[in-house]
Every structure is written in C-alpha cells, then in structure tokens.
C-alpha cells in the first residue's frame, strides 16, 4: 500500500536535479537560451551591424553574416530597415555607414564603453565579464540614462581598456599607437590599450598580469616570441597575443619608470618609496589604498610574512596593513 521505496525516492530526486541543471546550466541552459532568444530582436541586430560597420567600413553581406551571431533572416530584415531609414548605404554590394549611421554607432559605442567603465569602478565583476555584460547593456540604455551614467562617473575620457569614450556631442579622440609587436628592440613604450576580444587571448594577457598604462622596454623580437620588461618584471608573449596590446613609443627622456618594480617583489629587509598605484587598480579598491596611505613618496617595508604566504603585512606611515598579492602587484615602488 505504501509506494515508498528509498531507491525510487533517490531516482526522483536525481531526476529533479537533472532537470534543474539542464534549465540553469551556465551558458547553454534552457533558461539562458530563452533569455537569448528574447534578446534577439531587430534593434539589437541593427545596433550590432552599426558597430561592425563602424570598425570595418565597406564589407559585404556575407561578412556581416559571418561576424554576427544572429539568424540570417533577422539580419536581412535589419539591413533592409537600415537602408530604408538611411543608416547605411550600399555601393557595389559593399555596405558602409551614412552620417546618421555613424552618429548612431557612436552612441552605442559610448553606451558600451561607459558601461564597462561603470562595471570597473562601481561593481565587483571580473574583468573578463565586462565586455560580455556591456554587449547586452548597450542596447538597453536610453540616451538619458547614458548621460546620467556619464555624469555619475565624472565624464570619463577612457574606458578601462584604454579606449576613448565618445562625448555626448559625438566627438571621439582616437588614440594613435602602434602594436606592441611593432615596437623595435631596445625601445621604450607605454601600454595605452589592451583589446578584450577575442576572449581567449584577453585571458592570456590577464593571466600574465600585464597592466594598462605601464611602461615597457622591448628586449627581444622574433617571429616566435617577444620579450619585454615592464614594472620590473620580464614578460614573454607570442606575437599573436602581443597584437592585442597597443603602445605608444616613448623618447628616452620620457621614461620615468626605469627602476620601477611592483610592491609584491619587495624583499623582507628592504625599504622602498612608492611611485604610484597602477591604473589597473580601480574604484573603491584604489581609494582604499590611497586612504590607507599608499601615496606617491611614502616609504614602505615588509612588516610580517604570512604562514600561508599571502597576504603580507606592510609597514606604511607607522601602521601595519596587510595586503593580498593581487593588490601588491598594482602598487609601484622604487627601492631606496
């Protein structure tokens, strides 16, 4: 009479767990697929085409199909709508932006880069996620919301990857730089931009702890690898990865960071002077460090080592402050 059986109960339980897993599986669970389908509308497609054309003018229909992850029908419809409303023009089967289209594209780019700036300053999302989240958010923000966002962030000029943010009036100061792989041997440069696409390459750069706005000194260039120094550490990159980093070439006179190293490399009996905090340390984290006294010119030394290795306690302004390694790499010092 009693249908209970522990084995059946367990099977039912695992069945329920499996169903929940399939629905909420990260990335390609049914729940997320449903969300994606809902997001896939004409507005999003139009705006993504505009961005694509902004970066690469004069491209064919098939390139658009290849580059964008939408159904062909939707893309065709979108292109038609855009032609009708004068956002794009077609010459010899190649598409490019009209003046209106150019303005619209800049608005989207402004929303994207401001949102990335917002994520970097005001939230705790990991760097890897900024781009993906901004790709979604750029289609949702209204013009007014974008302006409010800009005011909230103090009208920033650059996004966290070093890309310029278009102003409200649609002006943009593109930075002129060269690829890191083109920096000649024995020359100095400064990293002004780290590209976040493709994600696999970006992840490699993140893992190496290469920082935006740091100075580099090229030691070796060959077909297979680049060797350069930055912030007192040596980095080896393949040229493919190095192509995602943009630098400006520096004169010897402008080089200020010759003896610079990272606080994480300080030894326990040494004293050092702080040169500054890396641009990679942002938002609340940066302000905390400043407020604790990690400012230019302050003397710092190691107070205590940790039985587990991390964090270390540093003596700054007469106080012992423990910092984790991922913070210490972002503080630049010079040995005394």
């Amino acid at each position: 009479m009693n249908p209970y059986n522990p084995i059946i109960a367990l099977l039912v339980f695992f069945g329920v767990v499996l169903v929940l897993f399939l629905i909420f599986k990260p990335k390609n669970g049914l729940f997320f697929k449903y969300q994606k389908v809902r997001k896939e509308n004409e507005k999003t497609a139009i705006e993504d085409i505009l961005k694509l054309l902004y970066h690469d003018a004069n491209i064919s229909k098939s390139t658009i199909f290849n580059e964008l992850d939408f159904s062909q029908n939707l893309l065709l419809e979108s292109i038609e709508t855009m032609m009708d409303s004068g956002l794009i023009k077609k010459e010899k089967e190649l598409f490019s932006l009209t003046k209106d289209g150019h303005e619209y594209a800049l608005r989207i780019i402004r929303a994207h880069r401001l949102w990335e700036k917002y994520l970097s300053e005001k939230t705790g999302f990991h760097k890897e996620e900024w781009h993906k989240r901004a790709e979604l958010k750029e289609h949702e923000l209204s013009g007014e919301e974008v302006d409010d966002l800009s005011t909230l962030l103090g009208n920033p000029r650059y996004d966290p990857h070093g890309d310029p943010i278009p102003t409200k009036a649609g002006k943009i100061h593109e930075k002129k730089g060269i690829l890191l792989s083109d920096l000649p041997v024995f020359n100095f440069g400064k990293i002004i931009h780290i590209e976040d696409e493709p994600i696999a390459v970006y992840k490699q750069i993140l893992e190496k702890n290469i920082h935006l706005d740091s100075q580099v000194y090229m030691k070796e260039t060959s077909k297979n690898r680049l060797v350069f120094e930055s912030e007192g550490e040596q980095f080896i990159l393949s040229p493919i990865v190095a192509n995602n980093i943009t630098v400006i070439s520096l004169d010897k006179a402008d080089v200020v960071e010759k003896d610079t190293m990272r606080l994480s490399n300080l030894e326990s009996n040494q004293k050092a002077i702080i040169i500054g905090i890396s641009k990679e340390c942002r938002g609340e984290n940066r302000r905390r460090l400043l407020d604790l006294g990690f400012v230019k010119g302050a003397t710092v030394s190691i107070d205590l080592l940790n039985p587990l290795g991390d964090p270390k306690a540093f003596l700054i302004k007469g106080t012992a402050i423990a910092l984790r390694k991922d913070q210490a790499v972002k503080i630049l010092i010079t040995k005394r």
């Binding site: 522990p6 939230t123 005011t151 302000r287 460090l289 400043l290 006294g293 940790n306 306690a313």
Partner: protein, 472 residues
Amino acid sequence: METKNIDKIIELSNELRWQIGDDFHDNLTEAIYADASKIVEKTVVKDNKKGAFYLNAKIDQIVTSKIWGFPIMLLLLGLVLWLTIVGANYPSSMLASLLLDTIHPFLKEGASFLGFPWWLSGFLIDGVYLAVAWVIAVMLPPMAIFFPLFTLLEDFGYLPRVAFNMDALFKKSGAHGKQALTMSMGFGCNAAGVVATRIIDSPRERLIAIITNNFSLCNGRWPTQILLATIFIGAVVPSSYSSFVSLAAVVGIAVLGIFFMFFFSWALSKTVLKGEVSTFNLELPPYRTPLFWKTIYTSLIDRTLIVLWRAIVFAAPAGAVIWLISNVFIGDQSIAVHLIHSLDGFGFLLGLNGVILLAYIVAIPANEIVIPSILMLTVMVTGAVGGAGAGVMFELDSVTATGDILRSGGWTLLTAVNVMLFSLLHNPCSTTIYTIYKETKSTKWTVVATILPIVAGFIITFLVAQIWRIMS
C-alpha cells in the same frame, strides 16, 4: 533664475571635471598626506620607546609563524569553547532549577490561588513564561562567558592576527580573512556573529559572512548535539569508548558546518554575489593590555544583553504558540497533533518525523527550546508516561530517560543522526533573521540567508536517509 544658476554651476563643474582628468582623487589624497606629514614633523614629538615596539614584533613573529601560528589559534579557540560549554553547565543548571523548578510551580500555585481559569494560567505561565525562562537559563550563561573571553582577545589585538593567518584559506572561497572571526563568534551566537561582520568593510565579503554565519554551530545548538550524540551515537560503541565517540561526533558536526561555510562562501561569491564590490585591507594594530573590567562590562551590555533581549522578545510569543497548538482542539485532536500527522510523511522522507519538524517550526525563535518541545510533543502523541502536560515543555535530568521517551516516539540511530544534521542545517533563529535584516537592510539577502541553509538541510538529510535505508 535660481535654477538657471544651478544649471550653470553644474555645467561648469562638469567642464572642470573633464579638464582635471582621472587622477583627481589620487592627487587630492597625495596633497592631504603631504600636508599631514608636514604638520606631524612640526608638532609631534616622538618617544623612542624601542621596548614596546620590540615586544610587539616578537609576539607577531610567534603568532604568525609557520610552526606556532595555527596551533596557537586552534588551542585558543578550543579553550574558549571548552570554558564556555563546560563552564556554563553550572550556572545554567542553577538558573534552570530556580526559574523552572522553583518559580514555575510557585507561579502555578499563585495563579490557582487567585482563581485564574486553567487556560489563562496555562497560556501565560506554561506557555509564555516557560519559554522565556528556558531561553534565559540555557542562553545567558554561555553567552556571559563566551563574549567577554572573545572581547578580551579582540582588545588584546590577537584577533586581527588570526584573520591575517587565515586569509589565504578564506580567499580561496572568495571570502575575507576576518570571516574567521565572525565565524568563531557564530559559535557563540549567530546573531552576534552577524553583527560582528561589521568589521568586514568590503561589501561582497561582508554579505558572504552574514549569509554563511548560520553554518557555525551556535550555543543554542551545542546542547542538542551533545545530548543526541550521548544517547544514540555513544550507545553504538562499547561503553569505554562511548564518551570519546560522542564527542568526536559533535566535533564532526561542527567541522561539517565549517565545510559548508566554505562551500557556500565559494558558491555565493561565484554566482549571486559576484557583482558586489570587493576590496581587501586588514590593519594589524599594536598589542595592548586589555582594560579588563571595561571589557567585561561592555561585552555584557553590548553583546550579551542585547542578544538576550531580542531572544526573549521572540521566545515569548513562541511559548504562547506552543501552548495554544497543544491545547486548542479541532475535532477531537489538538492542532499540534493534526500538524504532526500532516508533517509525518515529509518527515519520514527526510529520516525525521512530524514531531521534529513541528518542533523546529515552533522553535524558530530559539534553538534552545527544540529538545523540550520535541519531548513534550512526543509524549503528547504517543501517550507515554512522563511529561508535564499538553503544551508544557520539559526536560529530564536523566539522559537514559530522555532516550527512552525519544525511542518510544520511534527514534532510531538514523533519526538521531539526521536531527544532528538538521540542527546544523536549518533556517537561522528569528533573532538572527531579524539581525540579518537590520544589518543588510535588504529583504532579498535576508530571504537568501534564511532559505539557503534549510534547503541544504532538506537535501542532506534526505540523501542520508535514502542511502541509510538502502544500505541497511
């Protein structure tokens, strides 16, 4: 006119912000520090007391050394817990004999002398008074020992070193080293542990510490664990090992709680909390001699009495509810019996029973009254000998007699193991829930902190019950 001016000013400030650039905050802080150090040079006279500084460094080297750092920490935590649990026994039993065995009958007699109807004296004295008295007797002594000891260690300056030593472990699960302290505080009382998370100034890590604090086995739950381990688990092995095995079982549950704390910290930081701002810094202040009496006083007032008061406020209505459901009849059975029967099926699935689930529902205000409620409800349902009447909670002096009553209610070793697990993994008490709400000011996180442990409890007890039944 005025708004025009304001708009102009805002426009100007935006223009200036644009010109100043991103380094504005850096430069400002640098300037402030430069000014401050000039003032310090001019006005502060330094006393070159090398001695104190040297001693400080010496202590630091020992308590954070590779060899001594962790043993010292475990020893101190063990000592504090041992002093609390063993030391609280005596005042607790004194308070119990005073409040429960002397004043309670006295009040009943007084009420019947004054001619109170049975339901009024039952409701007020057996319900409300008894629950409040129980909470005071069980809760006050351990807290009055635990919190002052903890505060002394805090004032001495040792606790930041614990956070320093432990940080690497907590970082792996996305948490802050200071969570080691709020977790230990949770061994005393989860509500106090939640308040203590104020020391974590990073928003994400603080939420993690708040939500996972309930996985620290609190004072209200230690006695339940010890009692059940003694009755059921100690009985499995030969009597010469029984006390050791039951102790190991209790410690095992506490360690399991720490494991769950790490697991859920990791899971939370990777999912729902990953967007919250996360920062880290930990100041290691110099050691100083604690102000003994001041510490005792403030810890009693700030921590013990506030928590106790909240517990009493929540326990009183709980006592009333317990009495009412046992004495109000629908048809020919009391509400409690109806509830127990409707919960029995679900309870069986979890390796528990309806009585236990009902006891955990009515004991949401305070974990301390779980065992008395279970005993009262078991006697009421089975009609076993003993007990103090419908709706009157009781506990027995004899562990064997308690075991007999529970066995008569159908308890097996599986039931005991699952109640121990469920006691670790269930919703926080209402005092803690209220405190979480006050600290986070967020219904969302309060709900998460409440639901998360009980879902974990359902899953774990369910799995244990099924596997146990398949194996046996």
